[in-house]
Symmetry: C2
Subunit: 205 residues, 2 copies
């Protein structure tokens, strides 16, 4: 924390804003609250970022870029995706667990303002990265590692759905489970191996 002292105002703002925006969303976040959390005067927010919109855009693209890069990186593995599916499903789960609040935040904000997606896609090469994954799936289909009748774009969406949705549905899943004395975090943990098995069963030849 001694090193943290040297951090400049601009960076302090970005970090505080990330926390507040992630928790309250764009509409619910207050500039004053961000300033308080950053420990600076509210006017500094405008000095560095002009407006709430611009501050949000900066922070949003920051957060989303980091996660997407880590996600894409997880696919850079020797050997076929099919054979390593358990490995990087574990990586995804780690990523999700460390950023539980991110999914609902991300999807809510891009629904509110779809322009954010376009800006994100310009900053990263989102489409390209997805395309690379799909090509790898296609190759494994041709090589007979994956069933021939599997539609790869659906496979990718399926994997993401199975991983991400339980985090989006957390409040209701948690509440229902607790009614039956079950634990939500245990449930998430079970899914780590379960999702892999579920997917493998559906696509193995």
């Amino acid at each position: 924390m001694a090193i943290d002292k040297e951090i400049n105002a601009e960076q302090k703002i970005i970090e505080a804003a990330a926390d507040i925006f992630e928790e309250k969303g764009f509409e619910g976040a207050r500039m004053q609250q961000i300033a308080d959390k950053a420990g600076i005067n509210k006017a500094l927010l405008h000095y560095y970022f002009r407006s709430k919109d611009l501050l949000f855009e900066k922070v949003f693209l920051n957060i989303a870029s980091k996660i997407f890069l880590k996600f894409f990186k997880s696919f850079n593995i020797e050997g076929s995706i099919f054979e390593n599916i358990e490995t990087f499903l574990q990586l995804h789960q780690d990523l999700l667990y460390e950023n539980r609040k991110l999914p609902i935040f991300f999807f809510n904000e891009i629904t509110r303002n779809p322009d954010l997606i376009r800006k994100l896609m310009l900053k990263l090469e989102v489409s390209n990265s997805f395309q690379l994954i799909l090509k790898q799936f296609e190759k494994e289909k041709r090589d007979g590692i994956i069933r021939h009748d599997v539609e790869v774009s659906h496979l990718l969406v399926n994997i993401i759905s199975l991983s991400v949705f339980p985090y989006i549905g957390r409040p209701i899943i948690k509440e229902i489970m607790e009614e039956f004395d079950l634990n939500y975090d245990t449930f998430l943990n079970e899914r780590r191996s379960m999702i892999a098995q579920f997917v493998i069963n559906s696509i193995k030849v």
Copy 2:
């Protein structure tokens, strides 16, 4: 529309509020906008519902109840779920397609205010209804219709994940698909049969 004339103010407010809240969320919605859409004076909102919070709660529970009831109803089918999985996955997809904006709205609001879930569960018997579905799955497991190593609670979450997530991720899925001249609605349509196949492959004996 001639009959609609007879509709009273209270009902007009509820319908207008549902539209606005669903589109803008609680934080983004404005009481004035709801009044305008309902074609009545803003003070009437408070006359009938006291506050924005109470109006929202009423509307939210209304919307959520309707959908959940329809969802649970879809499981009331003769014969095993496994054998009819295609049938009611179709029903779910119809339900989702008619209410595309609902999922992200619902999950965002219960994340913002988890108390809504508790109130919903008191109004309906959500836990009980889910429990019934799980029991049916268990029975089909014992009867050897479903693989014995399938964990039924995960199966249910998997099915819901595969169905619902593509609607939550709509903005980004749509944007990426359009980059490759593919159509999002077509994609959703393909999933109707695909999800069933994907699930069947994972749980058939």
